[in-house]
Amino acid sequence: MPFLGLKGGQLELFTKDQMYDFHLATVKVLEEIGIAIHDRDAANILAKAGASVDEKTHVVKFPQYLVDDALRKFPKYVTLGARNPKWDLNLWNKTVYAGGGSNAVNILDFEGKRRRAMLKDLEDLTRLQDALENVHFIPPIVVPQDLPRVGLYKRCLEAELKNTEKHVMHQAENPQDVRDQLEMAVAIQGDREEVRRRSLVSYILCFVSPLKFSATNTQVLVECAKQGLPAFVELDPQAGATAPVTIVGAMVQQNAEVLGAVTLAETVNPGTPVIYTHAPTIMDMKAGEVSEGCPERGLFHTITAQIARYYGIPACCVAGLTDSKIVDVQAGYEKAFQFAIAALAGYNLIYSNTGMLEGCLTASYEQSVIDDEIYGMVFRFMRGAEISDRTLTEAVEVIRKVGPLGSHYLTQEHTRKNLLTEHWIPKVSDRLRWEIWEKAGSKGTKELAQERAKKLLAEHKPPPLPDEVLKTIARIASRP
């Protein structure tokens, strides 16, 4: 059974004092070094609010009071809506949700061949991840290579909205694209006010480090702010390459970048729902490539979840990544390690890259199912164990009932009543004895996952959207 809205945050490595110092270092970066914002309108808005702007370099320096002001303005509580309100994401303090995969360009198909991702894959993977109970929101899982580049995001959004009832975390190319996608959300949700309250689409914006905001990203952020739409402000520092090599150094820079973007959004429109988002990595100096599966990520995650909580801003991390190219052991351990730490760190949203391999270049149906299994295990741990008068009394009573003269607890009401909440029931993990396992075909995880993926694909169909709505969103999606 699905358990929604579990509490994380059990893992805290730093003290409040350390967080305060960390914040002060960030403020120093924003005030003394600044961020290059390559959009004149945005820079002007900040200048009017008290920032200093260098017309030649585009560097904007943020006075402390401007940042503090923004920290007071963003909503501390955000609801991200879903077509089926059962899947609404209520971003309370430390409430953790997991999300689907992210923008792959390849598919590792059921035969193990790597090929280009197509629209059909986006539809199928969205539908598959819609069926997975531990995946709570859906990003664009693949970028279909058979779609025209013009209007790409809108067409993807149309495919996603048709194939999931969960919240869709999306992206936009420019301000007009934001407005078009908003129109699509309104078509489904009925009216603009409902979208304001619990928008079923949100927008993720990836800024590039170090300390520079491109014109397009800045404009999209400003548009989201103007429309009051939820925006994921994402920074992806690469420690040693686009950010300082130390864990703390990379995170201070990232924090300055995120606070810079948040300050812009809240200056444009106080109350804009912003979500502190990041995908930090290290540069592997041997390979000359960033490492997505690195253990340092666990430290980036614990610091960031804590600083976001210190500010009271909803937070999202990109986790569950692997450097492996195939559905294998490395994919399993890297994903499980990262996801467990991200969940225990207490992010509201774990953009957990369900089904992603090779960083997030390749998507796999089998891996999607395996990742759901990993989340299930972690969520079971997070649900914890209740030590209370009730549970202790019941425990002593059932021990008394069976006692030294009895032989088992299998036929105790206590067992029957608590089984499904106390024990996690695996979907693909094998627990058979050797002989039985052998007789069942000696199947490994990948084969079992493939069977489950095929079964879910054959069976799961989210309720269709009404014809009128389908027509409307298709019309908007095909608009040039």
């Binding site: 088992h408 036929t411 067992t415 089984l419 039985i436």
Partner: protein, 218 residues
């Protein structure tokens, strides 16, 4: 649906849902209505337990479901037995199965699960418990004349008892009519062959399947 079909269906349902009280109440009601006690068991209670046993075998139900169903059936059957005796009637079983965990081994749970599964498959099961002395296996085999004797061992040290009992049964000339089955974590098909056992069950469902094969081939 006639009254008796209706109550048989309810009996089966009560066992399926592992409801001990409902199974007992419905059994009393059925006996009051003069339902044939053998029909009551076979087409009511036992049918329910069989359904659960099969579903457990397919991985659709939990072990607790099976054990609760067996418990409900046992409680209900204990109400019917005195009536069967008074009418000199006997239930028809697929076979009689004596089961126990071997001497020096106090592990009871695996054996109990096998016992419940055997009951679900229509065996009359006599459970000797755990840490059963070798001599008790021998005397009970002689007295009860079961079709099958099943011995469970969890420890690699206690599994040797299975061999000792199997050989002693042969020495006493009891093996012609009595089949011997072994099971338990360290036990394997190879071990079963080595000690001359007739079958080995890798888990409870497999044990029931092998037991059925043994009584059919008899």
């Amino acid at each position: 649906m006639s009254q008796s079909t209706a109550i048989l269906e309810q009996l089966s349902q009560a066992v399926k849902s592992g409801d001990v009280e409902a199974s007992k109440d419905l059994t009393k009601k059925a006996l009051d209505q003069n339902l044939d006690p053998l029909v009551l068991i076979e087409q009511g209670l036992a049918k329910g337990l069989r359904t659960v046993g099969e579903a457990f075998g397919r991985g659709e139900l939990f072990l607790t479901d099976l054990m609760f169903a067996a418990e409900a059936m046992k409680a209900a059957v204990s109400l019917v037995e005195p009536i069967l005796e008074s009418k000199h009637k006997q239930r028809e079983f697929r076979g009689v199965y004596v089961i126990g965990t071997v001497e020096g081994d106090i592990h009871d749970i695996g054996k109990s699960i096998v016992a419940a599964t055997l009951e679900a498959n229509g065996f009359k099961v006599i459970d000797l418990g755990a840490d059963v002395p070798n001599s008790v296996f021998l005397t009970r085999s002689e007295e009860l004349k079961p079709d099958i004797l099943g011995m469970s061992a969890l420890l690699s040290t206690t599994m040797l008892q299975q061999k000792i009992v199997a050989e002693a049964l042969a020495t006493r000339g009891l093996r012609k009519k009595l089949k011997v089955m072994v099971g338990g974590a360290p036990v394997s098909a190879d071990w079963a062959a080595e000690i001359g056992a007739d079958a080995y069950g890798v888990d409870a469902n497999d044990a029931a399947k092998k037991a059925l094969q043994l009584v059919v081939s008899r």
